[in-house]
Symmetry: C2
């Protein structure tokens, strides 16, 4: 279970690291010419996700090019509702959409229990293919959308221009039905992440892209408690999997929780029991460290827009981000990342500039 580079896992466990590890949300993507070449071979985005060899190819591209400290499975946060029969598709220049959406209580009742090892087998195949190809260079991250975020898309049928107002409406008109949907999704996400761990994922991440739209006092009921139950299930299962795989005294697989717009409820997010909390670009890393840094590692959080700027600004922002976390001392962990997914308009050289700046500057903060 050793890696050529285990900085990422050590930072998640809040163990000493000689420099701050770095990976980037959506690091395999359209800003890379090699990605676009592979994507052309696959056809559309979902065909690329569903092809383990090509998904493996694009997963490794940013590792090869930039020497990042973790790989992340090439997939989408919405594979679960797709496997549940809602028909995920992407229109040119637009976000994800579903051909069917959840409208009635009966639609929720009709959602059967998903067996990810059947309906999402292509994901397990991608994970094991990538693991083999990585050959222990760096750890591999698996992931899923959070129940609340999946529910937002499933009820709305796609993205939203009004902060998912019509999904929030359910909280005030049929909260029981909404909770039923969220509970079904919690089970599905847990099973799905467990499958990814079984296939070889070394860490998993839950993306709550729309948790920040929940009202004060409702985040806990409609998102946090479900992420917490996923973490409990996945952690327990991961210990059993490690033991089965012959790792005696197997440590649980680290779990990262990311809530975009969740800067006001960091304590609640940490209370999910996540090993690390991801932060978007609006949250001060130093304040977050003060609040929850002794309970979990922190991941983030440079503004992805800075990668569209000049090298001078990128270096300055990297320094500012690392300084806002502060000196990496005993018992704290920091994984450098963007505060949100990388833009398709990012010049690849700017990513190289960022990665180099993180390496150079973070060594000085030890």
């Amino acid at each position: 279970m050793t890696f050529q580079n285990d900085l990422f896992l050590r930072a998640l466990k809040r163990q000493p690291t000689e420099r701050t590890p770095v990976w980037l949300m959506r690091q395999a993507g359209r800003y890379l010419p090699e990605y676009n070449a592979t994507r052309k071979k696959a056809g559309d985005f979902m065909s690329l996700c569903k092809n383990p060899e090509l998904a493996c190819e694009v997963t490794l591209q940013p590792i090869d090019r930039f020497g990042l400290d973790a790989a992340i499975l090439f997939s989408d946060i919405l594979t679960i509702p797709d496997a549940m029969g809602l028909g995920l598709f992407f229109e040119q220049g637009e976000g994800p959409k579903f051909t069917k959406r959840i409208e009635t209580d009966a639609d929720i009742v009709a959602l059967g229990r998903l067996d990810p090892t059947v309906e999402l087998r292509y994901v397990a195949d991608a994970v094991s293919t990538i693991k083999k190809a990585l050959n222990r260079r760096v750890p591999l991250i698996g992931f899923s959308g959070s129940p609340w975020t999946l529910a937002c898309y499933m009820i709305n049928g796609g993205g939203s221009g009004d902060d998912f107002l019509n999904v929030r409406k359910w909280m005030y008109s049929r909260p029981e039905a909404l909770q039923q949907l969220l509970e079904k999704l919690s089970v599905a996400v847990s099973d799905y992440l467990i499958m990814q761990i079984e296939a070889g994922a070394d860490a998993v991440m839950v993306f709550d892209s729309w948790g920040g739209f929940l009202p004060e006092g409702h985040f806990e009921r409609f998102s946090q408690q479900h992420i917490q139950s996923i973490i409990e299930r996945v952690r327990a299962a991961s210990i059993a999997i490690r033991k089965n795989q012959g790792h005696t005294g197997g440590q649980p697989t680290p779990i990262i929780a990311f809530v975009k717009g969740g800067g006001q409820w960091l304590e609640s997010i940490a209370a999910t029991g996540a090993d690390a909390v991801g932060l978007d670009w609006t949250t001060n890393l130093g304040k977050a460290r003060e609040l929850i840094g002794s309970e979990c590692a922190l991941q983030g959080n440079i503004d992805p827009a800075c990668l569209l700027g000049t090298p001078q600004h990128i270096q300055a922002e990297v320094a500012r981000t690392l300084e806002s976390f502060g000196r990496v001392t005993q018992g704290v962990g920091h994984v450098f990342n963007l505060g949100h997914g990388i833009s398709q308009f990012t010049p690849p050289d700017n990513v190289a500039c960022l990665v180099e700046a993180v390496a150079n500057y973070s060594k000085k903060l030890r």
Copy 2:
């Protein structure tokens, strides 16, 4: 300078009130059949804004129907860039758009100093028409978008699906040009609000709809400092205006600052010197009161989605919101409002339910 109902102004000044005053962002709007009837007479949205008599008519409609405690000028946050020649228009079912947008440094230099008493005279006319029609029943609120929010629309040419990434990019590539634009807008917004006060506005509000997309540590430079300079200018001018109008010892006109998504930097927002800070639905009123409640009044912050729910849920959420602010004691002020604009799908009866619940329940919290 007396009003039949001055609860709103007293709450802004943190003076005792027998119940919590309430008004609703976008209270004159498409959810009201009487609004839609007037709108039909006017033609499109901007024609309605530019017609003082009809703008007056729709401004008074929610006051007549619900007995709200403040009227707000019917207008748009983007009248300034429109007057600067960018050509504001609204497409069916979409947000605001501009026919021209700011792309180069030369575009910024070319923006001349606006004289709102000429280019935005229709707004002054609307304010004085509404003031006459209100006949001192309740105070009238004037408003503008904040410099940062105006700049977002002006650079992007309309709304954004990616948190104004291409505007944030300016911070990392040509921050000086962006600051130049923001400074021009600060002057224009100040002049514009001063004109509204001269025409009779009893309070003014600055809407920073997109301040919450600014990165941690950049909000202060790119939004907060400009709101602060507007408040300083407008406050000083308003004292002079009151004296000119014969109100000796004239008090300055109260100013409200609302930053959507600004819950993580309440202290910065309060540091603008605003008399009241508006909160969106993600911020806990009690925590906000603890942080800034002795410096300014608070306005907000029930989730507008709750108005799409059942009367029982509306009543429960009203109680929860009032309780989270807590007992209204000496030196604090609370104006009840939504955390964002009212939805066009709101049943008017639900608004009546909310207004009644605020009146009844808030009396008990004194």
